[in-house]
Amino acid sequence: MTELEPRREPPPPRPSGGFAERSPLVQLALARLRSFYREPEAVFWSFGFPILLTIALGIAFRAKPPDPVRAAVVAGPRAEAVRAALAAGPAVDVRVLGDEEAHRALRGGQVAVVVEPGDPPVYRFDPTSPDSRLARTVVDDLLQGAAGRRDVFAARTERFTEPGSRYVDFLVPGLLGMNVMSSGMWGVGWVIVEDRQKKLLKRIVATPMRRSEYLLAFVIMRMLFLVVEVPILVGFAMLAFGTPLRGRVLDLGVIMAVGAMAFAGLGLLVGSRARNSQTVGGLINLVMMPMFVLSGVFFSSRHFPEAMQPAIRILPLTALNDGLRAIMNDGTSLTALGSQLAILAVVAAGSFALALRWFRWT
């Protein structure tokens, strides 16, 4: 700007910058965003760690050919015939051992069944071990067949290991849910308490900033976080492991957004009064730990007793994980996930309402 006339009065304060520069909401959200991405640890725990976990667990639980059945035959005159009959079967690993040796191998778990040739033969096995029971059945089938038994019918079998049923397919939605939970709780609860502890909160409520905008900046930050996190983790799992995304992307986005609000709300709630970060760290872990275990992140929550299921079903992380798995693995549409959405929405609304009532600003 050039000045054509000499100025007599000091000019009025220039309305500085554009909308972004004048908007407290934009500036607050930018401050959050910068504080986050300039903290390499935070970025790693949010984005790198889930990917590493997916890789590690995806490799550990990758699909493998079925283990062979391991059997021992007690040495004796008929041992060779029995061994040959068993070795003819698919995926049977058989050896001939002395009586004492065979006993030791069975006890040590190197073999799952010991056959004493005879008429009829004797099977030694451990009926409490699924491995051992399976080995007994396989061995019996083979020996009966070798002795001339005919099957009444021959069933056709189909292998079922398609994407969606493998462990990695179970895991990825669980990790997404877990990540939304922990990043929401730490990113809101911890950060607010840090602001309070540093007296930054007190300093900014002494300005005319609207308090709602301070909180809204966190919500914006959570949504931005999803926009980055979901494509990274889902995209990685799809490329590296062929994890399916059978449902609609929009449905996935909606349930993630509602879930993120639920955990942002819980973060706000635990951070609403705490004065120092140790306190809030303890509270966050207290809230998250049961859900890590119960809500089906790494293994299905159906493993827990029936009596606990109603309580587990209403946990927000259970609702989110169930919803994510249904959308990604089964292609379920959002309309069929009403109860999960309702749980998340109630947690979000309830926690925000309580947190705002209790919030300690100064």
Binding site: P13, R34, R203
Partner: protein
């Protein structure tokens, strides 16, 4: 009325069960002046200033800030005030410029970032992250955050506590600059040199009450006198009454061997004192004089030092 920036009557702040942080404090601060609340730690300075800033509710008392009450015009007042708290930590990972832009966005009117950077002499640190600034630079940035809105009234709570001498002087320059550009300033401090250098008027606060009020010079002259003579001599050889009766001596106090006299005419009092001690055969082990300061005012009024 219109020339008062702050009017406060009978201010009381009680923390249950039995802490009385502010005990009936009265204060009138004029527009355009730099006013200092001076007192030891725990005197109630910070509580008072935070009540005036609208951050704490008083237990009792009447307060008008810029002719307004906090209960009626909170948003308007927040827009017209600039404050620094004791020990605020700004966001570590943000730069000076980003922090100023954040604070600027909260206000409808104010200075440009450029202008504020100039005021606090941080132009060459604009791209530096907060975590990389020195203590003095951090404190100047805190003041800058208070100046972005071009506030009518500036609150500075112990602005130089913990700073090295050079940083303190730089901050004083900032405060003097702000004051000369028309801001009313209320600052708290427990450094009397700071108060003497910056403040037009000071109130000395102790146990939540104002115990003395005036310009630093007035207070010194009224409460203490011009000069202070300090000496050490065995306590049993000297009587307080006879020392006080010496010509030129206005007051005398002692703690064990250490004596402190307030004196109006040094040229009269010193020879008289020496003669007096000599005549009694009392050995003098130390003698010094200094111009009376606010510290002496505080000691005279309370019998304690400001910073123990």
């Amino acid at each position: 009325m219109g020339d008062l920036a702050i009017r406060c009557r009978g201010l009381v702040k009680r923390y249950p069960p039995d802490v009385l942080a502010v005990d009936g404090l009265d204060l009138e601060i004029r527009r355009g002046e730099c006013f200092g609340l001076l007192g030891p730690n725990g005197a109630g300075k910070t509580t008072t200033i935070e009540i005036l800033e609208g951050l704490l509710d008083p237990t009792a008392g009447e307060i008008e800030v810029l002719g307004r009450r906090w209960s009626d015009h909170p948003q308007e007042l927040r827009a017209r005030l600039g404050i620094t708290l004791q020990e605020t930590r700004l966001p570590d990972r943000l730069t000076v410029e980003e922090i100023l832009r954040l604070f600027r966005s909260f206000y409808p009117r104010g200075r440009t970032i450029e202008a504020v950077l100039g005021l606090v002499a941080l132009e060459d640190k604009r791209k530096a992250r907060y975590e990389r600034l020195s203590g003095g630079q951090k404190q100047r940035l805190a003041v800058a955050c208070a100046l972005v809105s071009e506030p009518e009234l500036l609150f500075l709570d112990e602005p130089t506590t913990g700073l090295d001498p050079q940083s303190r002087r730089q901050l004083w320059d900032v405060v003097e600059e702000a004051r000369s550009s028309g801001h009313t300033v209320l600052l708290t401090t427990h450094y009397m040199d700071e108060a003497e250098r910056l403040c037009d008027r000071v109130a000395i606060v102790d146990h939540g009450k104002v115990i003395a009020l005036g310009t630093p010079r007035e207070l010194v002259a009224r409460v203490v006198g011009q000069e202070v003579v300090e000496f050490e001599a065995p306590h049993d050889g000297v009587e307080e009454a006879s020392v006080r009766a010496l010509p030129g001596v206005e007051a005398a106090r002692h703690e064990g061997r250490s004596w402190s006299l307030t004196v109006s005419g040094l040229h009269v009092a010193i020879p008289a004192l020496l003669d007096h001690l000599d005549a009694r055969g009392v050995p003098l082990t130390a003698l010094s004089t200094h111009r009376a300061s606010l510290e002496d005012v505080f000691v005279t009024l309370t019998g304690r030092r400001l910073r123990d």
